[in-house]
Symmetry: C2
Subunit: 521 residues, 2 copies
């Protein structure tokens, strides 16, 4: 943010030149590099765990893998993992010697690219780079005005994709809800891919109900990509794979799905979704241990099949309200779990993801706002690479809400501004500007070149959220937040899909598969 | 959280004994020490500034004090500060040599107690201990159902105090709004003290319009305390003092108020409330520099008068929306400013406070929720000793809202849970419990002793916020968050004041002063 017009020698602003150019610059759209926030900014300033804490968690996870191990691996998985060095016990549990885990961590891909149909939206996962996006398997849509939960449909999914495409601070679309109007599971999985990819050119995540659905899915993706080679060069869809059933059991069918995805060149999200106090230990520390242990088993599995295959370390422990056993994704405990997991990813040096931004609130009310911000900003500050469920999620993942998704874009913009942090440079410390303002100057910073120069490159402004004074608010007829979100939703959905497939591609897909959506272009 | 019934030797739970005792323990109210959260938990895990960053900010602040200095000190202040070593320039600016600043920092009180009428609510400020409370000078009350801003009154202030008294996660009451129905400034200041202290026995903060109002105020406080000695032993009201008009000018009248408060044994909040981009530099770093410089001048001032007098380092930089120049307390930039200031307090080793929890939203809607959580949780994680404005504040401090205050209690409970963090011990890592559950056990953690033992001591449950499933939510007639907050408000305000003055004290105060509130007991 160096302001060339201030001469350090005399401390006085040189008014000639520069200003007109800056004004012209501000009138033009900001280049991606100059935007105050963007996908992949680095967090890591929030560290709930000490180095020793992380070592103890890792050690305990290794002990769990060595002594407890995981049950229920499919025969193919047992074969590949025992060949690599895992030990199948008499109790049919697969145990993992420490050396095997460390060897496989060494083989694992440490800097992942998640491709997008539009390369502008490629995500580069490493270190503490942060990306926010949707995820989940909600079965309801939230009808905000009707205060009602209805079943989610394929069209909803497509609309969610179209909205995500327009939201700057939602960096990827993992399928957030289930198309309940497509009753055949194979057709549901295939139509889910179509509905998502036809709506957004950002990276897409999906899951598969059965292992033998993946061949059709890959065929569809080859059509979308323009051929198998093009797909394999830039796979723009990943498989969100619940490969374990916590505690410490492989999910047999999902493991077979994973094996197929690896063969098909599809990135895999190794998802361990225990629930502290129910399917994971109640202490936050113990829930992290179990999630890390389970995902390390996944790292062994993936890298034993194909060293370096793109896999995201998906420690997604959730939280129970221990009074009822029900999930509480909006709690402070959830925010801590997620941030702690992010630190473990950095400790292991492996790109990872976890869940944040879940509201327990049924509607996009004040509770939803604080619940969504708490875990989202902590996930970002902790440097979580992939923040899943970051927008739109209500009732602890049971309901998805378009208005909340749109408001979530503003919420995540502020969270990402926090991730960007505080820049300390000679220019930002600004003793010269302070001197000029205070001694013989105007006594305020309103018109300084420094202030004007930072207006669009350092400050983040909301799109829908309201910052008017009470007086302006009255003059504008007291805009209602939800109504403003509805207006933006209708504006987006009222336009054609922004990123349609080429007509011949669409025709080829529709000729080969039973696409339930009408023409989308 | 050690669970005595698990024997580390055999790894099996010993079912005999213990359980009945634990159930009995849970049925009893939790002692203060066992509550999962309480005032003064330690933060500090979020550190937006590196050590070098903090050194550079401090160095720049010292340069600003040495080279720019502050204008407009009252003659009494000039006298005491020049006697201590400050230098009055020909331009009437008071400049502070580095050695003077460091000497006075050495004299400053590093571990403050802010007393409360009820000693249970005393606040102990040091290190990274976190306390949340109200503050501000709102001129409006938010009428939530009417979607309307009306003028705030003395009764509102008293009601706010009564509500704060009942909210576990609001640890102090600094006067959040102005009693606009008391038009005489002296009577307003005196009635403000009365209305606050008659409503809550937590620590109270107030301000004074003119220096010569403090004598009456101290007389009233002596009556409340039972004598001047009792007041001086446990001063339960502090003076929130805007002793500077940023940038870098003393507020002459407020400085005289401060001198009187120091003489009267009243703790002082040294409040520097610049607005980045208007009365403070636009870069976050520069705004922190200026706030630190101004508060360091305050430390010199206070300790030159009375070494070790209780003073809170009140770096309260706010943020402008640079498009309009209007304040935006709900922005990510605000959250960063506040957290950065907290780190500077730790760097200087001096107890401090700053503003967080401000909503730009006019109503307690989703925007308000995310705005209030963002800065509150970041302030807590950064270990800010006094988080002012933490609840109830809307329209960037122009409006105060009872319903939002009540919801803020739930919000701050979750934030404080995050401050508490993740405990790593043999018990929380829990390999034995994991083994018991997975190998020959039930395959889930729902009924384990570990889970039951943590239910009330590690997990925080909201009072008003709703965690029901969509099904239960329908069965309960879809409770509305705002209506639930109104119900709690009416329940609190429908009861007599919980902490009335003794009748003879109240009579003595009313005999001496014109108290505008009717009888409160």
């Amino acid at each position: 943010m160096k302001d060339e017009s201030i001469s350090p020698a005399c401390g006085r602003p040189a008014r000639s030149g520069g200003r007109a150019a800056r004004h012209a610059m501000r009138a033009a759209p900001l280049t991606e590099a100059k935007r105050p926030i963007r996908a992949g900014m680095s967090g890591g300033t929030y560290r709930p765990l000490s180095q020793q804490d992380m070592e103890r968690i890792y050690e305990t996870a290794l002990i769990a893998l060595e002594q407890i191990g995981l049950a229920d691996a499919p025969p193919s998985g047992v074969a590949v993992m025992t060949r690599a060095g895992a030990i199948l016990g008499d109790d049919n549990r697969l145990r993992f010697p420490r050396a095997l885990v460390e060897q496989m961590l060494g083989l694992a891909n440490k800097a992942i690219t998640l491709h997008a149909r539009d390369p502008l939206h490629d995500l580069h996962l490493s270190g503490t780079k942060v990306h926010y996006g949707t995820a989940g398997a909600a079965v309801h849509m939230v009808d905000v005005l009707g205060r009602h939960y209805r079943e989610s449909t394929l069209q909803d999914l497509h609309d969610a994709a179209r909205i995500v495409q327009q939201l700057d601070n939602i960096h990827f679309l993992q399928r957030p809800m289930v198309a309940r109007d497509v009753t055949d599971n194979r057709e549901m999985d295939l139509n889910t891919i179509y509905a998502c990819c036809a709506g957004t050119a950002k990276h897409v995540g999906v899951s598969f109900t059965e292992p033998d659905f993946t061949a059709d899915a890959l065929e569809m993706l080859h059509l979308m990509a323009g051929g198998e080679d093009q797909w394999r060069a830039r796979p723009f869809v990943s498989n969100s794979n619940c490969f374990v059933v916590p505690p410490m059991k492989f999910a047999t069918e999902s493991c077979l799905v994973m094996e197929n995805c690896i063969a098909g060149g599809m990135p895999v999200l190794l998802l361990s979704a225990g629930q502290a106090g129910a399917t994971a230990p109640a202490p936050i520390a113990g829930a992290i241990v179990q999630a890390v242990a389970e995902c390390l088993a996944g790292v062994v599995y993936v890298n034993a099949i194909k060293p370096g295959h793109t896999a995201i370390f998906g420690t997604w422990p959730f939280v129970s309200d221990l009074r009822t056993g029900a999930m509480s994704g909006g709690s402070g405990e959830q925010a801590l779990l997620t941030a702690g997991c992010a630190q473990m990813h950095h400790f292991l040096g492996i790109p990872g993801g976890a869940a944040a931004g879940i509201a327990d609130a049924k509607l996009p009310d004040m509770q939803a706002g604080w619940e969504q911000m708490c875990s989202n900003v902590m996930a970002g500050l902790s440097g979580l690479n992939m923040v899943y469920e970051a927008a739109g999620m209500h009732a602890s993942l049971l309901g998805f809400c378009f208005e909340s998704l749109i408001l979530g874009d503003d919420l995540l913009g502020q969270a990402m501004r926090c991730v960007r942090g505080i820049e300390i440079t000679d220019e930002t410390l600004g003793i010269e500007t302070m001197r000029d303002v205070c001694i013989g100057g105007p006594g305020h910073y309103l018109g300084t070149d420094q202030t004007l120069g930072l207006m669009e490159t350092e400050y983040v402004y909301p799109v829908v959220a309201d910052r008017t004074s009470p007086k302006e608010w009255v003059e504008r007829d007291k805009p209602d937040l939800i109504q403003s979100a509805i207006a933006r939703k209708e504006s987006i959905l009222g336009k054609p899909t922004a990123v349609p497939f080429p007509p011949e591609t669409d025709a080829a897909i529709r000729a080969r598969f039973n696409i339930h959506l009408g023409p989308v272009a």
